[in-house]
């Protein structure tokens, strides 16, 4: 941090408070961002001069070890804070970072598929209908990427009912036509993620610039690359199409062509994808791996390959109490109650959080060194959960969380750790099983 001249220390300290201390009510309301602009100005003027009240404010900050009341982000602070710096959310969604994140995420998706499915590269057979299948299926299967490890920044899980996902995932293997779901889902995607649409469009444009590359992609018989090149509406979904159709051979050039675009963030994703076993069958959606191929139909899950760079992922839930949109930025779980317009820090830990998964108001988030928190009330209160079995505790980084199960009962929690362990619990985290 830039040092300041010592005279500034002296003069800052010399400024004593002019008035009586604000009472506990005002200080509390200030800390909770509940004051009007005029009141806030008065309190902060006092705080700028009064070391005691600054200390009280700091001492009275909630203990994050127990529970963290959401702290209003500056984006939602209103006119009183209009002079503040730009909100982190805006920075996170700034165009350059999105574009690069999208490219890098795409590369990682393709690379992870290659790593997971090395034996099936040549199983696909070119067919005129292949491209059709791919473009048809990809938007439908896009929600499945929610559980993919590379949902680092740009992946969106629209509030799409689960049955079409399953159907389409299976249908991608054999069916050649499902135009209607595609159209419907595309429409649903648009209002939710205009930025992503645009970003994918840029991706498309860049792909086209690489004419040789584009030729390879467009000639892809089973459509993963074709979707990447032509559709552009949901780039990661193309990977899911690959999953469903087992067609990966023609995507291989993509990483080599764009490998130089990979950011530091996504590199660990590949590392983590390597030890993944043989992937997961498309027909077994509850299953998850360290690479997290398929999301359970009724959960929205996001993983961060790394907490190093702000890269919010978004989910949306239909119920009013579950309107929260979640993201992880720089190791902090963020929550938005207005569809991403403003964000609040929902949970901040000493160890950066890496991933989360929510099922309505039931949200789990995990991070480094076995950090795992659970909130059953949409993030208002948090409880730390320590997965353990027979005295053995999970201490590795939690890289992925998946929720599945019936709406009525507690969801099955499946967490993947960086040491390739998979822990699961069917009773809300009370007891665990390790695989």
């Amino acid at each position: 941090m830039t040092e300041i001249p010592k005279i500034v220390y002296d003069r800052l300290r010399a400024a004593g408070p002019e008035r009586a201390h604000p009472d506990a009510d005002l200080l509390t309301a200030f800390a909770e961002q509940m004051l009007s602009a005029v009141e806030r100005d008065g309190v902060i003027e006092h705080l700028a001069r009064c070391g005691d009240c600054r200390e009280i404010i700091t001492l009275a900050l909630p203990d994050t070890d127990i529970a963290t009341a959401p702290i209003a982000d500056e984006a939602e602070a209103g006119p009183a804070t209009s002079s503040r710096a730009p909100a982190p959310r805006k920075l996170s969604f700034s165009w350059p970072s999105l574009r690069w994140a999208a490219l890098a995420a795409g590369v990682v998706v393709v690379a992870s598929v290659l790593l997971m499915r090395p034996g099936k590269l040549n199983q696909s057979t070119p067919s005129p209908a292949g491209l059709q299948v791919a473009t048809t299926a990809q938007p439908v299967s896009s929600p499945q990427i929610a559980s993919s490890q590379v949902a680092s920044s740009t992946v969106v899980s629209p509030p799409i009912a689960s049955p079409p996902i399953k159907q389409s995932a299976l249908a991608a293997k054999t069916d050649e036509t499902r135009p209607q779901p595609e159209l419907q889902l595309s429409r649903k995607l648009k209002p939710v993620t205009p930025a992503l649409q645009a970003q994918s469009g840029m991706l498309l444009a860049e792909n086209k610039k690489e004419s040789a590359q584009a030729d390879k992609l467009t000639s892809a018989p089973m459509g993963a690359a074709g979707a990447l090149a032509f559709d552009g509406s949901a780039r990661p979904a193309a990977t899911e199409t690959i999953e469903g159709s087992n067609a990966v051979s023609t995507v291989e050039p993509a990483p080599s062509a764009e490998g130089n675009l990979m950011t530091r963030n996504e590199a660990p994703a590949i590392e983590k994808a390597k030890p993944a076993p043989q992937g997961v069958e498309a027909t077994a959606p509850q299953k998850t791996t360290t690479a997290g191929t398929f999301a359970p139909a009724q959960s929205q899950a996001r993983n961060m390959a790394s907490a190093g760079k702000p890269a919010p992922a978004i989910s949306a839930n239909p119920a009013p109490a579950q309107h929260a949109t979640w993201a992880i930025t720089a190791g902090v779980l963020q929550r938005s109650l207005d569809g991403g317009q403003s964000w609040q820090s929902a949970l901040r830990r000493d160890h950066p959080l890496l991933c989360y998964a929510n099922h309505g108001a039931d949200i789990w988030t995990g991070g480094q060194a076995g950090t795992l928190f659970h909130s059953a009330d949409g993030g208002l209160t948090w409880a730390q959960v320590q997965p353990a079995i027979e005295g053995q505790q999970l201490s590795a980084d939690i890289t992925h969380i998946d929720l599945s199960g019936d709406v009525s009962g507690p969801p099955q929690v499946v967490i993947s750790a960086s040491n390739n362990q998979i822990w699961s619990s069917t009773d809300g985290g009370k007891t665990w099983e390790k695989q």
């Binding site: 800052l12 070391g51 700091t58």
Partner: protein, 326 residues
């Protein structure tokens, strides 16, 4: 508890909305009547907007919005506790007793002191200390502007600061004796690296010019900027703590501090030059400011403010029945 004079500032407009607010608050469950609840709201309005007769202070709509924005349920609970309602106390204890102890531990970082602090606050909340023969609960000062839990934390932090200051004054002489402070040389005046009178400009020393330029540069900053500077450089707060206090992101605070530090230096230099110093002189004055920060910190371990002690609530200044740090 003593009731405030209610009839004089009873806001007529508050009566109608107060019924819906009353229902929202759940005060009925704690035996608080509609009329009593309306009185409480009037009391709070009086605190923040002045007497109801002062129509210039705020419109009826503003007051209604203000009341609707209060933490009514927690307000009802706190006030019912203050009035001795048993059910309210049961609820309060079940909700906050454990939290009070964990808060105290968070503040004191010491189990023994935490227990002492929590018990002391709990006694204050219950109103063990009677005044004029009446039990007086500190909860009567809660007005629902923020969460009750946050208010409890703040009150506890205030209590901790007050105790710390008292304790420090009590033992400081012994500690100083143990540390041999009485044998220590007096803090020397800053060494005169440059002739402090040689830079006379407009009859002032370079130190005075420097102070004036610094004060001016600081006064041009917003209160929030000065708060950020003081928190980071004076108090040694972390970026995370400042960010949480202001509701910002750490990176925003970091950028702001960098900007402020750079801007301050420029402004001070510019101020010195407008006072007639050459650029070289201004740079020298800024760089050779020999008031060692360590010495200053030692001489000002506390930033005694001279302001009043923290009131438990300031419905009126005289009502504050809590401790004073003087």
């Amino acid at each position: 508890m003593p009731k405030r004079a209610q009839s004089g500032h009873r806001a007529g407009a508050a009566a109608a909305p107060s019924v819906s607010l009353y229902e929202r608050s759940g005060a009925a469950a704690y035996g608080v009547s509609v009329a009593r609840f309306a009185d409480i709201l009037d009391e709070i309005l009086h605190k923040y907007f002045g007497p109801a007769s002062n129509s210039a202070s705020a419109s009826t709509e503003q007051k209604a919005d203000f009341c609707a924005g209060l933490r009514l349920e927690e307000l009802a609970l706190a006030r019912a506790c203050a009035e001795g309602n048993e059910r309210a106390w049961e609820d309060f204890i079940s909700r906050y007793r454990r939290k009070l102890h964990s808060m105290a531990l968070h503040i004191t970082r010491d189990a023994a002191h935490a227990a002492e602090l929590a018990d002391s606050l709990f006694a204050d909340l219950y109103g063990v200390n009677a005044r004029d023969g009446l039990r007086r609960s500190k909860l009567v000062f809660y007005t629902g502007r923020g969460s009750l839990e946050g208010w409890l934390r703040t009150v506890m932090a205030q209590e901790f600061i007050n105790r710390y200051r008292k304790q420090k004054r009590t033992v400081s002489l012994e500690e100083q004796t143990e540390q041999g402070v009485q044998f220590a040389a007096a803090v020397p005046e800053p060494a005169c690296i440059f002739d402090r009178t040689s830079d006379r400009t407009s009859g002032r020393t370079s130190d005075q010019l420097l102070e004036a330029a610094t004060d001016e540069a600081l006064s041009e900053l917003s209160a929030e900027d000065r708060f950020t500077l003081a928190s980071y450089y004076l108090d040694g707060r972390t970026l995370a703590e400042i960010a949480r206090t202001l509701g910002l992101h750490e990176s925003s605070v970091s950028r702001r501090l960098d900007r402020l530090a750079t801007g301050l230096r420029k402004r001070i230099l510019a101020g010195l030059r407008t006072q007639g110093m050459s650029h070289a002189q201004a740079m020298e004055a800024l760089a050779t400011d020999v008031r060692d920060i360590g010495l200053n910190l030692r001489s000002r371990l506390t930033q005694d403010s001279g302001a009043k002690a923290f009131p438990g609530g300031s419905i009126s200044a005289g009502d504050a029945g809590n401790t004073s740090h003087d």
